[in-house]
């Protein structure tokens, strides 16, 4: 992307740069009016974008087909508007029907979709012996199977971690800690990459590095 030349674009670029500094004045200094201004600007702009984007989506999916003769589309339109009864205490119960539609669909699709990848495929991969990789591959095969059994045992919620269960559940928690540690390490890469993008933008606007 080249450095903008049109006046409005250059102004826009520098406004974005200043807004960035206003936001980062919070961690780099402390919570202050500049941060709060930029933050409220973001909420106001995002709110408008949210309303318009969803409005146009409802028009595309529901209202336009309704006006083109698809009478059934009146049902989701009415159901959708029923959700706003949440704002009127004595009619709050009316909103339970659209919520019921959302919850019912979410759980139905969730249940039917979660079993194969999260249970079947996961177990098949865990119990399938390595076909190459020598001793280390077999050690890893043992590690994952034992680790998985102990970690699941940790999440037995109606059996006290005592007696026979004490050792495997304790080991299970350690396997979980290793998982969370690796997760933490990967999260650092994600967060720092986003911040790197901002550091790059900082220098680009100052023309210290190319856009």
């Amino acid at each position: 992307m080249a450095y903008p030349t049109a006046a409005l674009d250059v102004i826009g670029l520098w406004i974005g740069w200043v807004l960035m500094l206003m936001i980062y004045s919070y961690p780099l200094y402390k919570e202050n009016p500049a941060f709060r201004t930029a933050e409220h600007m973001f909420i106001g702009v995002t709110l408008a974008i949210t309303i318009i984007t969803n409005f146009s989506n409802v028009m595309k999916m529901c209202v336009t087909p309704l006006m083109q003769g698809n009478i059934l589309m009146i049902v989701p339109l009415v159901l959708g508007l029923m959700i706003f009864s949440m704002l009127i205490p004595e009619y709050q119960w009316v909103s339970r029907y659209p919520i019921g539609l959302l919850v019912g669909t979410a759980f139905g699709l969730g249940i039917r979709g979660t079993i194969k990848p999260n249970l079947q495929d996961a177990i098949i991969d865990t119990i399938t012996a390595p076909t190459s990789g020598g001793a280390m591959a077999w050690l890893n095969f043992l590690y994952v199977a034992v680790g998985l059994i102990c970690s699941i045992m940790y999440f037995m919620l109606t059996f006290e971690h005592k007696g026979m269960l004490k050792a495997p559940t304790r080991i299970g928690r350690l396997f979980i800690m290793v998982g969370l540690g690796a997760y933490f390490g990967n999260t650092v890469l994600f967060r720092f990459t986003m911040l790197t993008g901002r550091a790059q933008f900082f220098l680009q606007v100052l023309k210290l590095i190319p856009m």
Binding site: I99, L109, A182
Partner: protein
């Protein structure tokens, strides 16, 4: 009658939809029109329901201004920017079907929303640094294991790790491709069970917390 309409009918309605979604999957190889209709309606209702959060936020911000609460000026600025963005966006939408066809909306979208959106979320990069420094401490065996796994994965992700010592990448790769698998796979399995438990209770009409004001 109205009590049934407020409770039992709702739970039955939710349960039936859950069951229909499940039956379609197991008893028909291809999606069915009646299930398509339910899903399409759910998407539209979900779209419309997003307006609820927006209205609540607007009500709160307007109250701040009306009652001159502390920092009400920020709310006034938020509302005025919101109105400008909304009017110009709808002007563009009703003119061409695309809100970004309006010059003011497009300019605000590119030069106010984008930099702020690209700046606010990465603020977590700062906080993860101090969280790692302050909290990532080997207080006990659990924390020590988390610390070790985290550091080796970091040294594997950053190219400098391998440049310093190839062992960092080897050990880091072990944690990435083997070490974390039991823990992470357990969360997927336990999450699947949790979803089935909640779904089953909702299906039986025994899970009522989802509805406004609960039971």
């Amino acid at each position: 009658m109205s009590q049934i309409l407020r409770r039992e009918a709702v739970y039955a309605f939710t349960g039936i939809i859950t069951i229909l979604m499940i039956l379609e999957y197991f008893f028909w190889p291809t999606p069915q029109i009646w299930a398509d209709t339910i899903r399409t309606w759910a998407i539209i209702v979900f779209n419309i329901s997003l307006g609820l959060g927006a209205i609540r936020l607007l009500m709160q911000q307007s109250m701040n201004v009306q009652k001159r609460r502390e920092n009400w000026q920020y709310s006034a600025m938020l509302l005025s920017l919101f109105v400008v963005m909304l009017l110009t966006g709808f002007a563009g939408y009703f003119a061409t079907g695309l809100q970004t066809s309006n010059g003011i909306y497009d300019w605000l979208f590119i030069n106010i929303y984008t930099p702020l959106g690209a700046t606010l979320y990465p603020i977590t990069g700062f906080y993860i640094f101090s969280a790692a420094y302050r909290a990532f401490r080997a207080r006990n065996v659990d924390a020590a294991l988390m610390l070790i796994a985290g550091c080796f994965v970091m040294l594997k992700n950053a190219p400098v790790g391998e440049a310093i010592w190839i062992g960092f990448a080897t050990i880091g790769n072990w944690f990435q491709f083997t070490g974390q698998i039991p823990g992470m796979r357990t969360f997927s399995i336990v999450g699947a069970f949790g979803l089935m438990a909640y779904g089953f209770r909702a299906l039986l009409g025994k899970e009522r917390g989802f509805y406004a004001g609960g039971e």
